[in-house]
């Protein structure tokens, strides 16, 4: 197990070092805006805030409300494409 975790850490490190992680992040953000995911989630935020009251809203509240919904709302095409890119990266850089 520790090997796995070590390995994961190493891979993550490599991802960051090569700049691939940032590229993937930007790609994901762009795609989510394009498909309307961001607007959907923002509307949900509005509801949450109206519910909880404008003055008393905290980051934790928001995160707790938004994250599960956000994860669920990601369209399949976006998910598939991102997974594909990650796998490609792993395949290219399998030997560390």
């Amino acid at each position: 197990m520790s090997k796995d975790s070590q390995m994961r850490a190493a891979i993550n490190q490599k991802l960051i070092e090569m700049g691939e992680r940032d590229r993937l992040k930007e790609l994901l953000r762009a795609k989510l805006v394009e498909c309307g995911w961001k607007d959907q989630l923002k509307a949900h935020c509005k509801d949450v805030i109206r519910e909880k009251g404008l003055e008393h809203i905290t980051v934790e509240d928001l995160v707790a409300e938004i994250t599960p919904k956000g994860r669920a709302l990601v369209p399949d095409s976006v998910k598939k494409e991102l997974l594909q890119r990650i796998k490609t990266f792993l395949a290219q850089h399998s030997t560390l």
Binding site: I11, R21, R29, L54, K79, S94
Partner: protein
């Protein structure tokens, strides 16, 4: 940790898949967090709800999704089906076509056939000076074209209006013919308008012939309105036309601007030329003669009749024949004296080749 332990190749697919999934979910969570921070900041700074208006206004400007209506609720073709009655011709016209119809109906727009109207008006009163008033008024509205001094015998240079629907296509010109048979109307603003000589009086004919080519086309029986040096017609034709229209004794061809481009004929023909000053009734023969001679002559000869201006008959002398492209420098001095007689020389005479230039050609 040794590097060999870290190799992924030893992993099976499921683990690889799981790894990818983990990385992916990390990325998504990052995105969500980013959004949360953004919203939280907007709330705390007070600009989160700024783009919303109150409920009432929201309802007013809601997107409309009904058939026949655009998203603002306006009807698109509301005026299309309505009809108006034209005050001029009392016809019922569709609203969207009303303005162009009025333009044509009243004859006052840019593309309306004012000329057609003018022609109709003027054909009622031929050669009547009172017409000019009417036509001047008409042309006051005309911004495109300024009214020249001559009413009918006007030089219509290429005054093509590219927007006019009446613009006729110009066909390639053939020699001696007006190719544009579509345009039978002498007063349209098209390029190859001709004048019908039958309708013109002798004075007008004369003035016309001083400025224009005037050769009568076989096709359309109209006079060519191009300049005196138009390449379609030869001087012979021009001379023939003038004789035909004005009589043999008339000399209506202007000398001032015509350069005798003819190559110089030898001085030996001078006397013969002088005798030919009297333009007898043989004018009818000469064009055909010259045509045949043109056809049969070789290079050097064939150039001359083309260039030669059939200028006046009972001539006053003008400047010496400067010689066209053919004569060149050498012969021009010679021809200054002969130039006088050159003009009167009939094309019937066998033309000796020009001294210097054409010898080389031959």
């Amino acid at each position: 940790m040794k590097m060999e332990d870290m190799s992924l190749s030893g992993l099976d697919n499921t683990k690889l898949e799981a790894l990818a999934q983990d990385i992916y979910s990390d990325l998504v969570e990052d995105a969500c967090l980013g959004l949360c921070f953004e919203v939280h900041r907007a709330v705390k700074q007070g600009y989160f709800f700024l783009d919303d208006t109150d409920q009432e206004s929201m309802k007013d400007f809601e997107i409309v999704d009904q058939p026949g209506v655009d998203i603002f609720g306006q009807v698109y073709n509301q005026w299309k089906n309505k009809e108006c009655v034209c005050p001029n011709c009392n016809r019922s016209i569709a609203a969207s076509r009303f303005a162009p119809h009025l333009e044509k109906c009243l004859g006052m727009g840019r593309n309306s056939s004012r000329i057609a109207n003018r022609r109709i008006a003027s054909s009622n009163n031929m050669n009547n000076k009172s017409e000019s008033d009417q036509e001047d008024n008409d042309d006051v509205n005309d911004n495109d074209w300024s009214y020249g001094s001559e009413k009918k015998a006007k030089k219509r240079k290429s005054d093509k209006n590219p927007n006019s629907p009446r613009r006729s296509k110009s066909v390639k010109h053939k020699n001696g013919e007006l190719s544009n048979s579509v345009n039978a109307d002498p007063y349209k603003y098209n390029y190859n308008t001709g004048i019908n000589y039958e309708t013109l009086g002798p004075d007008e004919l004369r003035s016309l012939l001083t400025t224009q080519c005037g050769v009568i086309s076989e096709h359309t029986k109209k006079m060519c309105t191009r300049s005196q040096r138009c390449p379609q017609h030869t001087d012979e034709q021009r001379r023939a036309v003038r004789v035909f229209l004005l009589g043999p004794s008339e000399s209506s061809l202007p000398d001032a601007d015509t350069m005798v481009e003819s190559d110089c004929y030898d001085a030996s023909d001078g006397q013969v030329l002088m005798s030919r000053l009297q333009w007898d009734g043989s004018s009818d023969i000469s064009p055909s003669d010259s045509a045949s001679s043109k056809a049969s002559t070789n290079n050097s000869d064939s150039k001359k009749p083309k260039k030669k201006k059939t200028t006046s008959l009972g001539l006053n002398s003008t400047g010496g024949g400067g010689g066209g492209s053919g004569s060149g420098g050498g012969s021009s001095s010679q021809s200054s004296l002969v130039g006088l007689s050159n003009r009167k020389k009939k094309p019937k005479l066998p033309v000796p080749p020009a001294p210097s230039i054409y010898d080389n050609l031959n």
